[in-house]
């Protein structure tokens, strides 16, 4: 099956052939069983791929389910009020929608005493709390309110997002031409260790749009800032190297040059005058000013540095 045949069948199936080409193609197909089989194959391919993706997604969802505790059964009449009792962050109208759920002819017994109802409600709320904690692989700690739980959950998912968003995209980032490093290309110079600089450049908009090819939807809803990390010290005199380096929680791929001992430590501070994410690399601190999608690093201010050191020493 040559690329030419593939291309022709694909265009035929997409209705992209001219009328004359289509007729001659169909005539050809009629007399050629081999070609018939190929057209059949190409026609089935998209649905087969969808089925395959569906199966892998199903397995992924089964894994998520397996990591969660079973849902406590709450008979229909009680479901709404039980959820109220834990003060979950849900709008009243949504709850009322749930109240209007269909009733089956075979639904559970409807007369349940008040005290039993309260037990259900308590059980449901405790279970939901347990569930949320297990969801983020944490041990159940009593006495933490529901809002806190929801915030923690949101936070852990945000961290997970940070980890997942970047590696998928760093290939394209790494393939962009690197500027601003010519003057360091003379090799490994020891005293450059002293002036280690991390520069973050916002990439040009043409590269950004090329990278976003095929992305549809609400780009105004999600902010895409494309940044990359460029290290201009500790340069090796070996021309263009592509190295995968480990910086804080996730991989950043740097083309050309390498960063020695690149593992960093991510620190989160929530103190007066010191708030947010900081990166500790060797003896250098950087403040991470953006925690969505891409992460530019800026050197911390002197005053902040003192605070960071103070809290780290503790």
């Amino acid at each position: 099956m040559t690329e030419e045949t593939i291309d022709r069948i694909e265009r035929y199936l997409n209705g992209e052939l001219s009328e004359a080409d289509r007729i001659s193609f169909e005539k050809e197909v009629q007399n050629d069983t081999d070609l018939q089989k190929k057209v059949e194959f190409m026609g089935l391919l998209p649905r087969a791929i969808l089925l395959h993706s569906e199966d892998s997604l199903r397995n992924q969802l089964k894994e998520i389910e397996a990591s969660l505790p079973k849902v406590e059964f709450v008979p229909e009449e009680e479901a709404v009020e039980a959820e109220y009792s834990i003060g979950a962050k849900r709008s009243i109208s949504e709850e009322l929608n749930q109240a209007a759920e269909p009733r089956s002819e075979y639904s559970a017994p409807k007369s349940i005493s008040r005290s039993l109802w309260i037990r259900y409600a308590v059980a449901a709320s405790v279970l939901l709390l347990v569930g949320l904690f297990l969801f983020r692989d944490e041990i159940f700690k009593p006495g933490i309110n529901q809002n806190q739980v929801a915030e923690n959950l949101a936070d852990s998912l945000k961290q997970e997002r940070l980890r997942t968003v970047l590696p998928e995209k760093h290939l394209a980032v790494a393939n962009m031409p690197i500027t601003k490093i010519e003057d360091s290309k003379f090799g490994f110079v020891k005293n450059q260790l002293e002036r280690k600089i991390v520069i973050v450049q916002e990439t040009d908009s043409a590269a950004l749009s090329a990278f976003m090819v095929g992305k549809t939807g609400n780009s105004n809803e999600v902010e895409y800032g494309l940044y990359r990390l460029v290290q201009d010290t500790l340069y090796l005199n070996t021309g263009v190297l592509e190295k995968s380096i480990q910086v804080f929680d996730f991989d950043i791929k740097a083309q050309s040059g390498e960063i020695i001992d690149s593992t960093g430590q991510m620190l989160h501070y929530d103190k007066p005058a010191l708030h947010g994410l900081y990166l500790l690399r060797e003896i250098h601190f950087y403040k991470i000013i953006k925690t969505e999608n891409y992460v530019p690093l800026v050197p911390v201010k002197e005053s902040e540095l003192a605070l960071v050191k103070f809290y780290t020493a503790k």
Partner: protein, 185 residues
Amino acid sequence: MERNISGYSDAEIVEGIKNKDSWAFKSLYSIDRNGIINFVMNNNGDHNDGEDALQEGVIGVWKNILANKYKLSEGARLKTYLNKISRNWWYNQLRIRGITFQIADDFELEDIIVDVEDSDERIKKLSKYFSLLGEKCQSILKLRFWEKKKLEEIAIIRGNTLQVIRNGSSKCIRDLFEMYNNNKP
């Protein structure tokens, strides 16, 4: 912007799902897990049935997002949307199992249509052979024949040259066709 229990807004989850991010699927899965599983358990099902309904619901939402059938602007909240697909799926199961049931007045089956599972044996076979291909082949063919991306775009996404992608894509299709044609891997 209203946020879901996972802390993400509908728009963020939809965008994440388009990007195949696992946090987004987790968020969607947890968006109304209690509600959906309990709905099934309240309607002749057990916990396992509830899980199935939720799974199929998430898969339905995912399919519709990719097919651009789900539009944020129409004001359908993701949670409600998922809930409807799951319920619809469960009603269908009850019908298959021959259990009589009553559909709630406010529920319109026609609201959301999700393609029924493919029962064509040829597709199942082809899908099985597809899973035997290497990761690179799977990724390229997915982008080309399912997401309908141009070879140029695939080259950018995969960080390869156009020539590499073109040759790779042809070879993958040939390998897959061989398996399909000869009925063996």
